[in-house]
């Protein structure tokens, strides 16, 4: 198991990868990716029991589904640096003929991806299906999913949330990235989400919070705590507070960098704030 400093280095390198991927093609979504860097690092480097020699069926291992597919840069970086595919392939992000499509897809056969996502609101249903199959297969591994907070405006989530509790799907941990931002502004101004904790609880979920989702230790502890709550008759929800654009000062606390790439100068500034640790691709 890597120690916390090694994991911090991993996260720093992932932030560099995010900035460089998006900068190279002048497109992509750095803000949400940076905000979830600690989550992905904790999940793939510390928490999940997963197999990097990828098999779509994923039997006898934990599974992860990304519902808010636009934060693909962080997903790709962490998959590559965890060993799913060569790190150099990050060079092909969003380019023609690449397996690293703008939004993640199984279509090009990229190892580590089990469902296409991008059109929002579908990931929890998919995760539930996979969790249900794990139960049928007597496979006691966990299914993780990640969702944007703005994404919860999609009604399909609430169908899934209702199903999960009603059918005691207790081998799923769904994390909501609470960064309070979406394309048109804050979630509060676009469409207020209200009290999400109360909402999930009212639907019958076991809800916990991670106060600072950009504190790696807190995320690790939170995910492990969530894992200990599985198998008890309730689906588990983590409300994870993050800062969009975390780790790059001028990208933080704004929705401006939701889907915007840094220019050359901005890239240098961002990279200077995240010095190379594991080696750039």
């Amino acid at each position: 198991m890597p120690d916390i400093n090694e994991l911090q280095d991993f996260a720093t390198q992932v932030r560099r990868d995010i900035l460089r991927q998006v900068h190279k093609v002048n497109s992509g979504h750095p803000g949400g990716s940076l905000g979830c860097t600690e989550f992905f690092t904790a999940l793939y480097q510390e928490v999940m029991d997963h197999n990097t020699s990828f098999n779509m069926d994923g039997k006898e291992e934990d599974l992860f589904f990304l519902s808010n597919g636009h934060i693909s840069p962080v997903f790709y970086s962490v998959l590559a640096r965890s060993g799913y595919f060569p790190v150099e392939e990050l060079n092909t992000f969003r380019l023609i003929d690449s397996r690293l499509q703008g939004h993640p897809t199984t279509h090009e056969g990229l190892p580590g991806i089990r469902i296409a996502s991008g059109s929002l609101g579908q990931g929890m249903s998919v995760a539930l299906g996979a969790a249900q199959t794990k139960k049928l297969n007597n496979d006691d591994h966990i299914v993780y999913s990640l969702h944007g907070d703005g994404e919860l405006q999609e009604g399909q989530n609430w169908e899934a949330i209702m199903y999960a509790a009603g059918n005691k799907i207790d081998n799923i941990i769904s994390t909501v990235d609470l960064n309070g931002q979406q394309i048109d502004g804050s979630t509060e101004t676009v469409l207020p989400l209200g009290n999400l904790k109360a909402k999930f609880e009212a639907f019958g979920w076991d809800v916990m919070e991670i106060e600072d989702g950009n504190d790696l230790q807190q995320v690790i502890d939170g995910l492990k705590e969530a894992k200990s709550r599985t198998g008890k008759g309730k689906p588990v929800c983590i409300l994870m507070n993050t800062v969009m654009g975390n780790g790059v000062d001028f990208m933080m606390h704004t929705h401006a960098w939701h889907g915007k790439a840094p220019n050359d100068e901005q890239l240098e500034t961002g990279l200077a704030q995240n010095p190379e640790t594991l080696g750039d691709y």
């Binding site: 199984t106 296409a116 579908q122 539930l128 299906g129 996979a130 199959t133 794990k134 049928l136 169908e159």
Partner: protein, 317 residues
């Protein structure tokens, strides 16, 4: 002329139910999901015999499709069941992204397609579903004509690796195809050899096409009748060969002429052997309340309409 006998009218959805029941016994990977229409979809037997493999999702079709996609991960073969309208139009994006684009082995099984749903009216009578589904890359699209064929198709799609849309209907219709048939996806069935006109029909219109061929024969017109249960992939060779022989084509379907079987046939012929064609289909309209027979008559979806279209297209040769 060969006589096709109705061995006793049955609904095609019961063929689906019977197929699913059999799959429950023979294929342990088959799971079924239903959105509060278990009885309508004839899924009760499967549910009763395999409660652990039956998933009632409630009135939540989007979640049902997403869950089905997820259930394939780990080796299950999910069959979803609801009305055709709620199986397609309501969940198009879910099918597009989570099933078709993701290449998931989901079988979307849709009952109550077309106007023969009857009295519930246009809100429930989808006439656009074949078009919606055939436009999705990688989607296999099947529209069966009777009980026996629907049962055989249900068994066959479980063996096919990839997303499938299986469309069937509500009313009792003639059951005339063989009980022990082997269903080959993508293979057209020639019901009558003919020389003057080719009638290519799918779903409930196949029986009507048989009646039309008999009537045309009495008028001295030799009609070739093709049952094209698979809209996609289309048996293009069967269509081209028949069109070359007869020189004119009538397509017949319980669907809008925009986006349906007729347009697929027209494209095939335009590319390979341009041929005059008439369309027995609804003409860019919604349905309405009525009995199935009244609606088939009003919207020109029966043997009489096929005869009329055949006589018309013959003059265009």
């Amino acid at each position: 002329m060969k006589e096709y006998k109705n061995t006793g009218s049955k609904d095609t959805r019961s063929g689906f139910g019977a197929g699913l029941t059999e799959l429950g016994k023979t294929n342990e990977n088959v799971v079924a999901l239903c959105a509060d229409l278990t009885g309508s979809l004839k899924m009760d037997d499967f549910k009763a015999n395999h409660p652990e493999r039956f998933f009632q999702v409630g009135i939540a079709e989007a979640n049902m499709i997403g869950m089905a996609a997820g259930m394939t991960i780990g080796g299950k073969i999910p069959f979803t069941g609801t009305f055709a309208n709620f199986s397609t139009g309501r969940v198009y994006d879910q099918i597009r992204q989570s099933v078709a684009y993701s290449g998931k082995n989901v079988k979307i099984c849709a009952s109550h397609a077309g106007v023969t749903l009857g009295e519930d009216g246009a809100t429930h009578q989808i006439l656009e579903d074949l078009g919606l589904m055939k436009m999705l890359p990688g989607m296999t699209v099947i529209n069966t004509c009777d009980y026996n064929q629907t049962k055989a198709a249900t068994l066959a799609i479980a063996e096919h690796d990839g997303p499938v849309y299986l469309r069937f209907g509500r009313p009792k219709v003639a059951n005339f195809t063989p009980e022990d048939q082997k269903f080959e996806i993508g293979k057209a069935l020639k019901l009558y050899e003919g020389t003057d006109v080719t009638i290519i029909a799918t779903g409930h219109l196949v029986w009507e096409a048989i009646q039309a061929a008999v009537e045309l024969n009495e008028k001295g017109i030799s009609a070739e009748v093709i049952d094209i249960h698979t809209i996609k992939p289309l048996d293009e060779n069967a269509i081209i060969e028949s069109a070359k022989k007869t020189g004119c084509v009538v397509t017949a379907e319980e669907h809008n002429f925009l986006g349906g079987l007729g347009e697929s046939v027209a494209r095939t012929l335009a590319e390979n052997h341009p041929t005059p064609q008439e369309f027995v289909a609804t003409k860019d309209t919604f349905g309405e309340s009525g009995t199935p027979a009244q609606l088939m008559d009003k919207y020109g979806l029966n043997a009489a309409a096929i005869v009329k279209a055949s006589e018309k297209v013959l003059k265009r040769k």
